[in-house]
Protein backbone atom coordinates (compact mmCIF):
# COMPACT_ATOMS: atom_id res chain seq x y z
CA UNK A 1 0.00 0.00 0.00
CA UNK A 2 2.76 2.41 1.00
CA UNK A 3 4.73 1.44 -2.08
CA UNK A 4 1.68 2.07 -4.26
CA UNK A 5 1.09 5.45 -2.64
CA UNK A 6 4.73 6.47 -3.08
CA UNK A 7 4.58 5.48 -6.74
CA UNK A 8 1.35 7.40 -7.22
CA UNK A 9 2.71 10.48 -5.47
CA UNK A 10 5.93 10.30 -7.46
CA UNK A 11 4.02 10.24 -10.71
CA UNK A 12 1.84 13.14 -9.63
CA UNK A 13 4.90 15.11 -8.56
CA UNK A 14 6.53 14.36 -11.90
CA UNK A 15 3.38 15.53 -13.69
CA UNK A 16 3.18 18.71 -11.60
CA UNK A 17 6.85 19.39 -12.35
CA UNK A 18 6.22 18.84 -16.03
CA UNK A 19 3.39 21.36 -15.98
CA UNK A 20 5.41 23.93 -14.03
CA UNK A 21 8.44 23.61 -16.31
CA UNK A 22 6.31 23.74 -19.42
CA UNK A 23 4.29 26.77 -18.37
CA UNK A 24 7.45 28.54 -17.28
CA UNK A 25 9.26 27.82 -20.54
CA UNK A 26 6.34 29.02 -22.63
CA UNK A 27 6.16 32.14 -20.49
CA UNK A 28 2.53 31.57 -19.49
CA UNK A 29 2.68 33.59 -16.27
CA UNK A 30 4.60 36.43 -17.87
CA UNK A 31 2.23 36.50 -20.85
CA UNK A 32 -0.84 36.66 -18.60
CA UNK A 33 0.77 39.51 -16.67
CA UNK A 34 1.65 41.40 -19.86
CA UNK A 35 -1.82 40.95 -21.38
CA UNK A 36 -3.27 42.14 -18.09
CA UNK A 37 -1.21 45.33 -17.83
CA UNK A 38 -0.83 46.24 -21.51
CA UNK A 39 -3.91 46.92 -23.55
CA UNK A 40 -4.46 45.63 -27.08
CA UNK A 41 -3.36 48.86 -28.74
CA UNK A 42 -0.15 49.02 -26.75
CA UNK A 43 0.72 45.45 -27.70
CA UNK A 44 -0.08 46.23 -31.34
CA UNK A 45 2.25 49.24 -31.25
CA UNK A 46 4.96 47.09 -29.69
CA UNK A 47 4.44 44.53 -32.45
CA UNK A 48 4.37 46.89 -35.43
CA UNK A 49 5.91 50.10 -34.11
CA UNK A 50 4.44 53.56 -33.65
CA UNK A 51 6.32 55.44 -36.31
CA UNK A 52 8.84 52.82 -37.33
CA UNK A 53 8.67 49.49 -39.17
CA UNK A 54 5.00 48.98 -40.19
CA UNK A 55 4.02 52.02 -38.08
CA UNK A 56 0.71 50.69 -36.80
CA UNK A 57 0.43 53.45 -34.18
CA UNK A 58 0.68 56.27 -36.71
CA UNK A 59 -1.67 54.60 -39.20
CA UNK A 60 -4.22 54.04 -36.44
CA UNK A 61 -4.02 57.75 -35.50
CA UNK A 62 -4.45 58.66 -39.17
CA UNK A 63 -7.58 56.52 -39.44
CA UNK A 64 -9.00 58.06 -36.28
CA UNK A 65 -8.25 61.58 -37.43
CA UNK A 66 -9.59 61.28 -40.96
CA UNK A 67 -12.46 58.87 -40.19
CA UNK A 68 -11.52 57.37 -43.52
CA UNK A 69 -12.34 53.74 -44.38
CA UNK A 70 -9.37 53.00 -46.60
CA UNK A 71 -6.27 55.15 -46.56
CA UNK A 72 -3.56 54.88 -49.15
CA UNK A 73 -0.28 54.11 -47.41
CA UNK A 74 3.18 54.44 -48.87
CA UNK A 75 5.91 52.88 -46.81
CA UNK A 76 9.33 54.01 -47.97
CA UNK A 77 10.76 50.84 -46.51
CA UNK A 78 8.28 48.66 -48.35
CA UNK A 79 10.94 46.05 -49.08
CA UNK A 80 11.35 45.54 -45.32
CA UNK A 81 7.87 45.94 -43.87
CA UNK A 82 4.48 44.93 -45.26
CA UNK A 83 1.46 47.22 -45.33
CA UNK A 84 -0.67 47.23 -42.14
CA UNK A 85 -3.86 48.24 -43.95
CA UNK A 86 -5.15 44.68 -43.65
CA UNK A 87 -5.61 45.23 -39.93
CA UNK A 88 -8.19 47.94 -40.60
CA UNK A 89 -10.74 45.88 -42.55
CA UNK A 90 -10.48 47.77 -45.78
CA UNK A 91 -11.63 45.07 -48.21
CA UNK A 92 -14.06 46.47 -50.79
CA UNK A 93 -13.97 49.94 -49.24
CA UNK A 94 -13.12 52.84 -51.56
CA UNK A 95 -9.64 54.33 -51.24
CA UNK A 96 -9.80 57.80 -49.78
CA UNK A 97 -8.19 59.99 -52.42
CA UNK A 98 -8.05 63.03 -50.13
CA UNK A 99 -5.30 61.77 -47.90
CA UNK A 100 -2.02 59.93 -48.11
CA UNK A 101 -0.01 58.29 -45.33
CA UNK A 102 3.73 58.31 -45.77
CA UNK A 103 5.80 56.09 -43.52
CA UNK A 104 9.53 55.85 -42.90
CA UNK A 105 10.15 58.91 -45.04
CA UNK A 106 13.64 59.74 -43.81
CA UNK A 107 15.64 62.90 -44.58
CA UNK A 108 12.66 64.74 -46.02
CA UNK A 109 14.55 68.03 -46.20
CA UNK A 110 16.99 66.55 -48.68
CA UNK A 111 14.22 65.11 -50.80
CA UNK A 112 11.89 68.07 -51.22
CA UNK A 113 12.58 70.88 -53.67
CA UNK A 114 12.45 74.61 -52.92
CA UNK A 115 8.66 74.66 -53.37
CA UNK A 116 8.34 71.98 -50.70
CA UNK A 117 7.31 69.43 -53.34
CA UNK A 118 8.22 65.79 -53.16
CA UNK A 119 8.01 63.76 -56.33
CA UNK A 120 7.17 60.17 -55.43
CA UNK A 121 6.67 58.97 -59.00
CA UNK A 122 5.73 60.58 -62.26
CA UNK A 123 2.06 60.57 -61.34
CA UNK A 124 2.40 61.65 -57.75
CA UNK A 125 3.76 64.94 -56.51
CA UNK A 126 3.11 66.01 -52.93
CA UNK A 127 3.36 69.41 -51.38
CA UNK A 128 4.78 69.52 -47.89
CA UNK A 129 3.58 72.97 -46.90
CA UNK A 130 2.47 73.07 -43.29
CA UNK A 131 -1.17 73.49 -44.28
CA UNK A 132 -1.08 70.12 -46.08
CA UNK A 133 0.52 68.18 -43.23
CA UNK A 134 -2.31 67.02 -41.03
CA UNK A 135 -0.26 64.82 -38.76
CA UNK A 136 3.47 64.40 -38.39
CA UNK A 137 5.53 62.15 -36.18
CA UNK A 138 9.27 61.72 -36.80
CA UNK A 139 9.36 60.10 -40.25
CA UNK A 140 5.62 59.57 -40.66
CA UNK A 141 3.26 62.00 -42.37
CA UNK A 142 -0.45 62.24 -42.99
CA UNK A 143 -0.83 64.51 -45.98
CA UNK A 144 -3.89 66.14 -47.45
CA UNK A 145 -3.61 65.86 -51.22
Amino acid sequence: MLKYLCKKINRNILFALLIIIFTHLTGLYYNIYVIFIRGYEERMIRAYGDCERESYGFVKKAYNLTQSQNLKIINFERHLWPNVNGLFNIVKKPVDENYLVLLNLKNLDEKIDKNNDLIIDKNLKLNFDNKNIILKDTNCYLIKK
Partner: protein, 434 residues
Protein backbone atom coordinates in the same frame (compact mmCIF):
# COMPACT_ATOMS: atom_id res chain seq x y z
CA UNK B 1 -8.95 41.13 -18.04
CA UNK B 2 -11.52 40.57 -20.78
CA UNK B 3 -8.75 39.40 -23.10
CA UNK B 4 -7.51 36.84 -20.58
CA UNK B 5 -11.08 35.61 -20.24
CA UNK B 6 -11.35 35.48 -24.01
CA UNK B 7 -8.29 33.23 -24.19
CA UNK B 8 -9.69 30.77 -21.66
CA UNK B 9 -13.23 30.84 -23.02
CA UNK B 10 -11.96 30.35 -26.55
CA UNK B 11 -10.41 27.05 -25.52
CA UNK B 12 -13.72 25.76 -24.16
CA UNK B 13 -15.63 27.05 -27.20
CA UNK B 14 -13.28 25.23 -29.54
CA UNK B 15 -13.31 22.11 -27.37
CA UNK B 16 -17.12 21.98 -27.43
CA UNK B 17 -17.39 22.86 -31.13
CA UNK B 18 -15.00 20.13 -32.15
CA UNK B 19 -16.80 17.48 -30.14
CA UNK B 20 -19.49 17.80 -32.78
CA UNK B 21 -20.86 16.22 -35.04
CA UNK B 22 -19.19 12.97 -33.84
CA UNK B 23 -19.95 13.26 -30.15
CA UNK B 24 -18.56 10.67 -27.74
CA UNK B 25 -22.02 9.06 -27.60
CA UNK B 26 -22.35 8.87 -31.41
CA UNK B 27 -18.90 7.32 -31.42
CA UNK B 28 -20.06 4.76 -28.84
CA UNK B 29 -23.07 3.80 -30.90
CA UNK B 30 -21.71 3.76 -34.44
CA UNK B 31 -17.92 3.70 -34.29
CA UNK B 32 -17.16 1.50 -31.33
CA UNK B 33 -15.05 -0.96 -33.31
CA UNK B 34 -12.45 1.72 -34.05
CA UNK B 35 -11.69 2.28 -30.35
CA UNK B 36 -11.50 6.01 -30.78
CA UNK B 37 -10.35 8.15 -27.90
CA UNK B 38 -11.16 11.76 -27.19
CA UNK B 39 -8.42 13.23 -29.39
CA UNK B 40 -9.34 10.95 -32.28
CA UNK B 41 -12.86 12.32 -32.06
CA UNK B 42 -11.66 15.93 -31.90
CA UNK B 43 -9.40 15.48 -34.94
CA UNK B 44 -12.09 13.69 -36.96
CA UNK B 45 -14.46 16.52 -36.11
CA UNK B 46 -11.82 19.05 -37.17
CA UNK B 47 -11.76 17.45 -40.59
CA UNK B 48 -15.55 17.26 -40.84
CA UNK B 49 -15.96 20.85 -39.70
CA UNK B 50 -13.30 22.09 -42.11
CA UNK B 51 -15.20 20.43 -44.97
CA UNK B 52 -18.40 22.12 -43.80
CA UNK B 53 -16.58 25.45 -43.61
CA UNK B 54 -15.39 24.96 -47.18
CA UNK B 55 -18.97 24.54 -48.37
CA UNK B 56 -20.24 27.43 -46.25
CA UNK B 57 -17.48 29.74 -47.47
CA UNK B 58 -19.02 29.62 -50.95
CA UNK B 59 -22.11 31.43 -49.69
CA UNK B 60 -22.61 34.84 -48.18
CA UNK B 61 -23.99 33.90 -44.77
CA UNK B 62 -24.22 35.81 -41.51
CA UNK B 63 -21.38 34.21 -39.57
CA UNK B 64 -22.85 35.18 -36.19
CA UNK B 65 -26.05 33.26 -36.87
CA UNK B 66 -24.10 30.36 -38.30
CA UNK B 67 -21.88 30.24 -35.23
CA UNK B 68 -24.89 30.40 -32.91
CA UNK B 69 -26.50 27.44 -34.71
CA UNK B 70 -23.21 25.54 -34.71
CA UNK B 71 -22.61 26.15 -31.02
CA UNK B 72 -26.17 25.41 -29.92
CA UNK B 73 -26.14 22.15 -31.88
CA UNK B 74 -22.80 21.15 -30.37
CA UNK B 75 -24.02 21.90 -26.83
CA UNK B 76 -27.38 20.18 -27.44
CA UNK B 77 -25.71 17.02 -28.73
CA UNK B 78 -23.37 16.97 -25.75
CA UNK B 79 -26.19 17.44 -23.25
CA UNK B 80 -28.47 14.97 -24.98
CA UNK B 81 -26.48 12.08 -23.54
CA UNK B 82 -24.64 14.12 -20.96
CA UNK B 83 -23.84 11.24 -18.60
CA UNK B 84 -22.54 8.95 -21.32
CA UNK B 85 -20.47 11.73 -22.85
CA UNK B 86 -18.94 12.52 -19.48
CA UNK B 87 -18.20 8.85 -18.84
CA UNK B 88 -16.37 8.77 -22.17
CA UNK B 89 -14.38 11.88 -21.27
CA UNK B 90 -13.52 10.37 -17.91
CA UNK B 91 -12.01 7.34 -19.67
CA UNK B 92 -9.20 9.59 -20.80
CA UNK B 93 -6.94 10.25 -17.90
CA UNK B 94 -7.54 13.63 -16.27
CA UNK B 95 -3.83 14.45 -16.54
CA UNK B 96 -3.90 14.18 -20.32
CA UNK B 97 -6.92 16.47 -20.68
CA UNK B 98 -5.45 18.90 -18.16
CA UNK B 99 -2.17 18.99 -20.05
CA UNK B 100 -4.12 19.54 -23.28
CA UNK B 101 -5.77 22.55 -21.66
CA UNK B 102 -2.50 23.91 -20.27
CA UNK B 103 -0.65 23.52 -23.57
CA UNK B 104 -3.43 25.28 -25.47
CA UNK B 105 -3.70 28.09 -22.98
CA UNK B 106 0.07 28.59 -22.85
CA UNK B 107 0.33 28.88 -26.60
CA UNK B 108 -2.82 31.02 -26.81
CA UNK B 109 -1.39 33.57 -24.38
CA UNK B 110 1.95 33.46 -26.13
CA UNK B 111 0.27 34.54 -29.37
CA UNK B 112 -1.94 37.05 -27.58
CA UNK B 113 1.08 38.76 -26.09
CA UNK B 114 3.05 39.07 -29.31
CA UNK B 115 0.43 40.09 -31.83
CA UNK B 116 2.70 40.55 -34.83
CA UNK B 117 1.73 38.98 -38.09
CA UNK B 118 4.52 37.88 -40.39
CA UNK B 119 4.96 39.14 -43.96
CA UNK B 120 2.55 36.81 -45.77
CA UNK B 121 0.07 37.02 -42.93
CA UNK B 122 -0.08 40.79 -43.14
CA UNK B 123 0.28 41.08 -46.88
CA UNK B 124 -2.08 38.33 -48.11
CA UNK B 125 -3.82 36.11 -45.60
CA UNK B 126 -5.39 38.73 -43.36
CA UNK B 127 -7.32 40.14 -46.32
CA UNK B 128 -8.84 36.71 -46.91
CA UNK B 129 -9.87 36.53 -43.24
CA UNK B 130 -11.02 40.15 -43.25
CA UNK B 131 -13.55 39.57 -46.05
CA UNK B 132 -15.33 37.00 -43.91
CA UNK B 133 -15.01 39.16 -40.80
CA UNK B 134 -16.58 42.06 -42.66
CA UNK B 135 -19.44 39.78 -43.69
CA UNK B 136 -18.65 40.04 -47.39
CA UNK B 137 -18.44 36.30 -47.99
CA UNK B 138 -15.82 35.13 -50.45
CA UNK B 139 -14.15 38.07 -52.17
CA UNK B 140 -11.26 37.94 -54.57
CA UNK B 141 -8.62 39.87 -52.65
CA UNK B 142 -6.07 39.80 -55.41
CA UNK B 143 -3.91 36.82 -54.69
CA UNK B 144 -5.91 34.28 -56.64
CA UNK B 145 -3.49 31.38 -56.27
CA UNK B 146 -3.82 31.36 -52.47
CA UNK B 147 -6.79 29.27 -51.29
CA UNK B 148 -9.20 30.85 -48.83
CA UNK B 149 -10.18 28.15 -46.32
CA UNK B 150 -7.58 29.12 -43.71
CA UNK B 151 -8.79 32.71 -44.08
CA UNK B 152 -12.37 31.59 -43.54
CA UNK B 153 -11.51 29.78 -40.30
CA UNK B 154 -9.55 32.81 -39.13
CA UNK B 155 -12.37 35.24 -40.05
CA UNK B 156 -15.11 32.99 -38.65
CA UNK B 157 -13.64 32.82 -35.16
CA UNK B 158 -12.48 36.43 -35.29
CA UNK B 159 -16.05 37.48 -36.00
CA UNK B 160 -17.45 35.26 -33.26
CA UNK B 161 -15.28 36.43 -30.42
CA UNK B 162 -15.94 38.63 -27.43
CA UNK B 163 -13.14 41.09 -28.12
CA UNK B 164 -13.53 41.06 -31.94
CA UNK B 165 -9.79 41.08 -32.53
CA UNK B 166 -8.07 39.27 -35.35
CA UNK B 167 -5.80 37.20 -33.09
CA UNK B 168 -8.78 35.22 -31.75
CA UNK B 169 -9.18 33.67 -35.20
CA UNK B 170 -5.57 32.57 -35.17
CA UNK B 171 -6.02 30.79 -31.83
CA UNK B 172 -7.98 28.17 -33.76
CA UNK B 173 -4.80 27.24 -35.64
CA UNK B 174 -3.09 26.66 -32.29
CA UNK B 175 -5.98 24.45 -31.19
CA UNK B 176 -5.67 22.40 -34.41
CA UNK B 177 -1.93 22.02 -33.89
CA UNK B 178 -2.16 20.92 -30.26
CA UNK B 179 -5.08 18.57 -30.98
CA UNK B 180 -3.15 16.89 -33.77
CA UNK B 181 -0.17 16.35 -31.47
CA UNK B 182 -2.39 14.78 -28.81
CA UNK B 183 -4.02 12.69 -31.55
CA UNK B 184 -0.71 10.84 -31.67
CA UNK B 185 -0.97 9.70 -28.05
CA UNK B 186 -3.04 6.58 -28.60
CA UNK B 187 -0.49 5.27 -31.07
CA UNK B 188 1.57 4.36 -28.05
CA UNK B 189 0.97 0.90 -26.69
CA UNK B 190 -1.51 0.76 -23.83
CA UNK B 191 1.26 -0.44 -21.54
CA UNK B 192 3.33 2.70 -22.06
CA UNK B 193 3.26 4.88 -19.02
CA UNK B 194 1.09 7.96 -19.38
CA UNK B 195 3.79 10.23 -18.09
CA UNK B 196 6.14 9.11 -20.89
CA UNK B 197 3.46 9.77 -23.46
CA UNK B 198 3.01 13.24 -22.06
CA UNK B 199 6.73 13.91 -22.01
CA UNK B 200 6.89 12.74 -25.61
CA UNK B 201 4.15 15.19 -26.60
CA UNK B 202 5.98 18.02 -24.84
CA UNK B 203 9.25 17.13 -26.57
CA UNK B 204 7.57 17.03 -29.99
CA UNK B 205 5.91 20.32 -29.17
CA UNK B 206 9.23 21.87 -28.21
CA UNK B 207 10.74 20.67 -31.48
CA UNK B 208 7.91 21.80 -33.72
CA UNK B 209 6.55 24.96 -32.10
CA UNK B 210 7.45 28.11 -33.96
CA UNK B 211 5.57 31.18 -32.81
CA UNK B 212 6.26 33.02 -36.06
CA UNK B 213 4.33 30.45 -38.04
CA UNK B 214 1.21 31.37 -36.06
CA UNK B 215 1.67 34.92 -37.35
CA UNK B 216 -0.87 34.51 -40.11
CA UNK B 217 0.80 31.66 -42.00
CA UNK B 218 -1.21 28.58 -42.89
CA UNK B 219 1.61 26.08 -42.49
CA UNK B 220 0.42 24.71 -39.15
CA UNK B 221 -2.90 23.74 -40.72
CA UNK B 222 -1.07 21.68 -43.34
CA UNK B 223 1.22 20.26 -40.65
CA UNK B 224 -1.75 19.22 -38.46
CA UNK B 225 -3.68 17.73 -41.36
CA UNK B 226 -0.62 15.76 -42.44
CA UNK B 227 -0.39 14.27 -38.92
CA UNK B 228 -4.04 13.20 -39.15
CA UNK B 229 -3.61 11.83 -42.68
CA UNK B 230 -0.43 9.99 -41.75
CA UNK B 231 -2.11 8.25 -38.82
CA UNK B 232 -5.16 7.37 -40.91
CA UNK B 233 -2.91 5.95 -43.63
CA UNK B 234 -1.08 3.90 -41.03
CA UNK B 235 -4.35 2.52 -39.64
CA UNK B 236 -5.75 1.81 -43.11
CA UNK B 237 -2.63 0.17 -44.51
CA UNK B 238 -1.71 -1.88 -41.47
CA UNK B 239 -5.17 -3.13 -40.46
CA UNK B 240 -7.33 -5.61 -42.26
CA UNK B 241 -11.12 -5.63 -42.22
CA UNK B 242 -13.65 -2.95 -42.97
CA UNK B 243 -12.32 0.58 -42.63
CA UNK B 244 -14.86 2.56 -44.63
CA UNK B 245 -15.13 5.29 -42.03
CA UNK B 246 -11.36 5.72 -41.80
CA UNK B 247 -11.06 5.81 -45.58
CA UNK B 248 -13.81 8.42 -45.82
CA UNK B 249 -12.12 10.62 -43.24
CA UNK B 250 -8.82 10.07 -45.02
CA UNK B 251 -10.23 11.39 -48.31
CA UNK B 252 -11.90 14.32 -46.58
CA UNK B 253 -8.72 15.34 -44.76
CA UNK B 254 -6.53 14.90 -47.84
CA UNK B 255 -8.97 16.91 -49.93
CA UNK B 256 -9.12 19.77 -47.47
CA UNK B 257 -5.33 20.19 -47.88
CA UNK B 258 -5.97 21.59 -51.36
CA UNK B 259 -7.91 24.46 -49.83
CA UNK B 260 -5.26 25.55 -47.34
CA UNK B 261 -2.26 26.29 -49.55
CA UNK B 262 -1.07 25.57 -53.07
CA UNK B 263 1.34 22.88 -51.82
CA UNK B 264 -1.67 21.15 -50.29
CA UNK B 265 -2.78 20.09 -53.76
CA UNK B 266 0.50 18.23 -54.23
CA UNK B 267 0.21 16.59 -50.78
CA UNK B 268 -3.34 15.55 -51.69
CA UNK B 269 -2.10 13.78 -54.83
CA UNK B 270 0.83 12.13 -53.03
CA UNK B 271 -1.18 10.84 -50.06
CA UNK B 272 -4.00 9.45 -52.23
CA UNK B 273 -1.39 7.88 -54.49
CA UNK B 274 0.07 6.13 -51.42
CA UNK B 275 -3.36 4.88 -50.38
CA UNK B 276 -4.05 3.47 -53.85
CA UNK B 277 -0.55 1.99 -54.06
CA UNK B 278 -0.85 0.08 -50.79
CA UNK B 279 -4.44 -1.04 -51.15
CA UNK B 280 -4.52 -4.80 -51.61
CA UNK B 281 -7.94 -5.18 -53.23
CA UNK B 282 -8.08 -4.36 -56.91
CA UNK B 283 -11.72 -3.27 -56.77
CA UNK B 284 -10.96 -0.84 -54.00
CA UNK B 285 -8.01 0.56 -55.92
CA UNK B 286 -10.36 1.40 -58.77
CA UNK B 287 -12.91 2.87 -56.37
CA UNK B 288 -10.25 5.03 -54.71
CA UNK B 289 -9.05 6.20 -58.08
CA UNK B 290 -12.60 7.16 -59.05
CA UNK B 291 -13.07 9.06 -55.79
CA UNK B 292 -9.75 10.78 -56.36
CA UNK B 293 -10.74 11.73 -59.89
CA UNK B 294 -14.13 13.03 -58.72
CA UNK B 295 -12.52 15.13 -55.98
CA UNK B 296 -10.06 16.60 -58.47
CA UNK B 297 -12.98 17.53 -60.75
CA UNK B 298 -14.84 19.13 -57.84
CA UNK B 299 -11.66 20.96 -56.90
CA UNK B 300 -11.25 22.50 -60.35
CA UNK B 301 -14.93 23.28 -60.57
CA UNK B 302 -14.80 25.11 -57.22
CA UNK B 303 -11.58 26.85 -58.23
CA UNK B 304 -13.41 28.20 -61.25
CA UNK B 305 -16.38 29.14 -59.06
CA UNK B 306 -14.09 31.04 -56.69
CA UNK B 307 -12.41 32.59 -59.70
CA UNK B 308 -9.01 31.49 -58.51
CA UNK B 309 -6.18 29.65 -60.16
CA UNK B 310 -3.86 26.80 -59.29
CA UNK B 311 -0.36 28.16 -59.55
CA UNK B 312 2.69 28.72 -57.44
CA UNK B 313 4.08 32.14 -56.71
CA UNK B 314 6.39 32.20 -59.71
CA UNK B 315 5.65 31.29 -63.30
CA UNK B 316 7.69 28.56 -64.94
CA UNK B 317 10.44 29.71 -67.29
CA UNK B 318 9.76 27.57 -70.34
CA UNK B 319 12.72 29.06 -72.24
CA UNK B 320 15.11 27.19 -69.99
CA UNK B 321 14.00 23.87 -71.53
CA UNK B 322 15.09 25.05 -74.99
CA UNK B 323 18.36 26.65 -73.95
CA UNK B 324 19.50 24.83 -70.79
CA UNK B 325 22.27 26.46 -68.82
CA UNK B 326 24.02 23.78 -66.78
CA UNK B 327 26.14 26.12 -64.71
CA UNK B 328 22.97 27.96 -63.65
CA UNK B 329 21.36 24.61 -62.89
CA UNK B 330 24.26 23.62 -60.65
CA UNK B 331 24.16 26.97 -58.91
CA UNK B 332 20.43 26.58 -58.24
CA UNK B 333 20.85 23.01 -56.99
CA UNK B 334 23.58 24.20 -54.65
CA UNK B 335 21.37 26.98 -53.27
CA UNK B 336 18.41 24.64 -52.76
CA UNK B 337 20.52 21.97 -51.05
CA UNK B 338 22.15 24.53 -48.78
CA UNK B 339 18.79 25.95 -47.72
CA UNK B 340 17.40 22.46 -47.29
CA UNK B 341 20.16 21.70 -44.79
CA UNK B 342 19.51 25.03 -43.05
CA UNK B 343 15.80 24.11 -42.81
CA UNK B 344 16.66 20.76 -41.24
CA UNK B 345 18.63 22.50 -38.52
CA UNK B 346 16.02 25.21 -38.12
CA UNK B 347 13.40 22.57 -37.34
CA UNK B 348 15.35 19.95 -35.39
CA UNK B 349 12.42 17.53 -35.60
CA UNK B 350 13.94 16.74 -38.99
CA UNK B 351 17.14 15.53 -37.37
CA UNK B 352 15.11 13.05 -35.31
CA UNK B 353 13.12 12.02 -38.39
CA UNK B 354 16.25 11.43 -40.44
CA UNK B 355 17.98 9.50 -37.66
CA UNK B 356 14.86 7.34 -37.18
CA UNK B 357 14.65 6.69 -40.91
CA UNK B 358 18.29 5.65 -41.12
CA UNK B 359 17.94 3.41 -38.07
CA UNK B 360 14.73 1.85 -39.36
CA UNK B 361 16.43 1.07 -42.66
CA UNK B 362 19.03 -1.00 -40.83
CA UNK B 363 16.28 -3.16 -39.36
CA UNK B 364 14.71 -5.34 -42.06
CA UNK B 365 11.72 -6.17 -39.86
CA UNK B 366 10.45 -2.62 -40.11
CA UNK B 367 10.72 -2.17 -43.85
CA UNK B 368 7.27 -3.48 -44.65
CA UNK B 369 5.50 -1.45 -42.00
CA UNK B 370 7.26 1.79 -42.91
CA UNK B 371 7.20 1.50 -46.70
CA UNK B 372 4.81 4.35 -47.23
CA UNK B 373 6.90 6.73 -45.12
CA UNK B 374 9.96 6.01 -47.24
CA UNK B 375 8.02 6.57 -50.45
CA UNK B 376 6.51 9.78 -49.10
CA UNK B 377 10.00 11.02 -48.24
CA UNK B 378 11.40 10.25 -51.70
CA UNK B 379 8.43 11.87 -53.48
CA UNK B 380 8.60 14.87 -51.20
CA UNK B 381 12.28 15.50 -51.73
CA UNK B 382 11.59 15.33 -55.44
CA UNK B 383 8.66 17.75 -54.94
CA UNK B 384 10.78 20.22 -52.95
CA UNK B 385 13.50 20.27 -55.60
CA UNK B 386 10.99 20.56 -58.46
CA UNK B 387 9.11 23.36 -56.77
CA UNK B 388 12.26 25.29 -56.01
CA UNK B 389 13.67 24.72 -59.49
CA UNK B 390 10.39 25.97 -60.93
CA UNK B 391 10.79 29.13 -58.89
CA UNK B 392 14.51 29.61 -59.29
CA UNK B 393 14.48 29.24 -63.07
CA UNK B 394 12.33 32.32 -63.26
CA UNK B 395 14.72 35.17 -64.01
CA UNK B 396 12.53 37.61 -62.06
CA UNK B 397 12.72 35.60 -58.83
CA UNK B 398 15.62 35.75 -56.44
CA UNK B 399 16.47 32.09 -55.91
CA UNK B 400 18.46 32.81 -52.78
CA UNK B 401 15.65 34.80 -51.17
CA UNK B 402 12.79 32.47 -52.15
CA UNK B 403 14.68 29.38 -50.96
CA UNK B 404 15.52 31.14 -47.72
CA UNK B 405 12.00 32.26 -46.89
CA UNK B 406 9.91 29.38 -48.17
CA UNK B 407 11.92 26.15 -48.11
CA UNK B 408 12.01 25.98 -44.32
CA UNK B 409 8.23 26.29 -44.13
CA UNK B 410 7.69 23.60 -46.76
CA UNK B 411 10.04 21.28 -44.87
CA UNK B 412 8.21 22.10 -41.66
CA UNK B 413 4.79 21.25 -43.11
CA UNK B 414 6.08 17.90 -44.33
CA UNK B 415 7.55 16.96 -40.97
CA UNK B 416 4.01 16.42 -39.60
CA UNK B 417 3.66 13.34 -41.74
CA UNK B 418 6.61 11.60 -40.04
CA UNK B 419 5.58 12.06 -36.41
CA UNK B 420 3.52 8.88 -36.60
CA UNK B 421 6.57 7.13 -37.99
CA UNK B 422 8.72 8.31 -35.08
CA UNK B 423 6.25 6.98 -32.48
CA UNK B 424 5.84 3.60 -34.14
CA UNK B 425 9.57 3.31 -34.56
CA UNK B 426 10.27 4.22 -30.93
CA UNK B 427 7.62 1.90 -29.51
CA UNK B 428 8.74 -0.95 -31.79
CA UNK B 429 12.29 -0.46 -30.61
CA UNK B 430 11.03 -0.24 -27.03
CA UNK B 431 12.93 2.99 -26.62
CA UNK B 432 9.87 4.33 -24.80
CA UNK B 433 9.58 2.41 -21.58
CA UNK B 434 6.69 0.01 -21.00
Amino acid sequence: MIEILQGVIQFFILFILFLFPITPQINNIFLKKYNFEIFDIICINLVLNLNCYLIISAFKIDLNILFAINFILAIAFLFLHFKKNIIFLKKTEFKVIFLFFIVNISLFFNSMNDLSLMWDGLDHWIYKASTFFQGLGFVNTGNTSYPHLGGFVWGYFWKNSIVQKEYVGRLTFIFFYVSSLFYLINLFKKSNLDIYKLIFVIVILALTYDKKLFGGYQDYLIFSLLIIISKLLYLIINNDGKKIFLETIFFLSAYILCWIKQEGFVYFIITVFLLILFEKEKRKKILFFLIFFTLICIYFFLKKFFNSELSFDQKFNINFLFTPDFSLLMQILKTITFNLIVAIFKYPIWIIILISIVLSLTDKKNHYQFRYFYIFLIINIFFVYSLMMHTCLNPEASCELVSKVSLDRIMFQMSGFYLVFIIIFLTNKKIIKN
